[in-house]
Amino acid sequence: MGDKTVVTVTVNGEEHEALIEPRLLLVHLIRESLHLTGTHIGCDTSSCGTCTVLLDGRPVKSCTVLAVQANGRAVSTVEGLEGPDGLHPVQEGFKEEHGLQCGYCTPGMMMTSVALLAENPDPSEQEIREAISGNLCRCTGYVNIVKAVQYAAAKEGVTA
């Protein structure tokens, strides 16, 4: 029972193999096996969204997915956002618009925002607020987070 099993997960474009227990949560694979600690654990009760990563392009709470369930699939974390030309427009938006204070919620917020803009490049304020409604922020009051996403949408609109 609970025998270890080998999984292959593509994280930020790079294939990783790991020998894991089936009960290992995806967030622990990411943080403890792959040492990508940008993805945070906030509540561990599926409520806060700071553990958000993209699983095959869709934002999910990595504390509520088993690592074995990511076998053969693609995971994107905040570490994968920065490109050869520098910060991702969403990261730049959070920096320019002061979209963070303590920064604890920020990785999850940014991953959710990236997925939103991939699906809806020109979201309304209401659509942004709905998209991030599963990501809790204790500091900012959300106003500047919305502005950060709007900044990224405008910037991506120019480059696209």
């Binding site: 029972m1 089936p22 561990d44 009760t45 369930q69």
Partner: protein, 292 residues
């Protein structure tokens, strides 16, 4: 928080899944979206010996109309329903509910069928399925079995689904001419279960109600099929305020909510009365094509 150890099986067919459940002898559980089961396992409220992951079974993500029914496969996620144009245009009650289940992140994993299989009276989909008079198609060692959504739940977290059965899909009758539907939920915040929610489906001939279904969420130990409230509407005008008031009162009488963090019982009962009337008005308007 890690769950207790378990054996993990990832079948690629429904038959293999059924065999794995049987081999687990009552100590095996299906995992679909995992958005109810994994939180319970992390809190050690559940500790199945074997987890049968159905996410790798091809074809269970079916979401289509066929033979007069809408088929919702066991891997159709809340978010798939929220984003579906077919659902938005033809099944407004499903679209309404999808937008208010949990939060957008949970909605990318959690499934319609998993929510119904969970047997939680707070689950929104069981109510929607009841109002729409859905069929629940399961497969077990003895072959297929069909359950009605209207009496599927038998207790708190208990349903008619056998421990060795996989719920494969829900089938919902396609809307007939003059049909309208709506789901109204009052929640304290995004990601919270309903303080109370009401799902209604009506079929109109002119202004006259010829058929109705009303379901209630989180206002009693079971998902509630408010059959008396629905029956009271048949033969009456959807514009008759007294008829709607009576349906609201009967729905309220069918509810039996506890007083808890989401409010006192009296408040929730009155929510049921008011939401029933409002949902009926919206469904009526939609049936006549007056409102999206």
């Amino acid at each position: 928080m890690l769950p207790s150890s378990f054996a993990y099986v990832a079948p690629t067919t429904v038959d293999e899944a059924v065999q794995a459940l049987a081999a687990g002898g009552g100590d095996a559980k299906v995992v679909a979206g995992g958005q109810s089961l994994l939180p319970m396992m992390k809190l050690r409220l559940a500790a199945p010996g074997t987890l049968v992951d159905i996410n790798g079974i091809a074809g269970l993500d079916v979401l289509e109309e066929a033979d007069g029914m809408l088929r919702i496969g066991a891997l159709v996620r809340h978010g798939d329903l929220e984003r579906s144009a077919l659902v938005r245009d033809r099944y407004p009650i499903i679209h309404d509910a999808a937008r208010h289940i949990a939060d957008p992140l949970i909605r990318n994993r959690g499934t319609f069928c998993g929510s119904i299989a969970h047997g939680d009276p707070a689950g929104d989909w069981a109510t929607v399925a009841s109002a729409l008079n859905a069929e629940l198609h399961a497969v077990g060692p003895d072959g297929p079995a069909v359950h009605s959504a209207r009496d599927f739940q038998t207790g708190m977290f208990e349903t008619r689904l056998g421990l060795d059965q996989v719920l494969v899909e829900a089938r919902i009758p396609q809307p007939v001419a003059g049909q309208g539907s709506a789901y109204l939920k009052v929640e304290r915040k995004v990601g919270d279960y309903a303080a109370a929610a009401v799902g209604v489906v009506v079929v109109l001939d002119g202004d006259t109600v010829t058929e109705a279904g009303i379901g209630l969420t989180n206002v009693g130990p079971l998902t509630i099929d408010a059959a008396a409230a629905a029956a009271s509407l048949v033969g009456r005008s959807i514009d008759d305020a007294a008829a709607l008031e009576e349906a609201g009162r009967l729905a309220m009488e069918a509810s039996d909510p506890p007083s808890d963090l989401r409010g006192p019982a009296e408040y929730k009962q009155d929510l049921v009365r008011v939401l029933t009337k409002r949902a009926l008005r919206t469904a009526g308007a939609r049936a006549r094509g007056e409102q999206a």
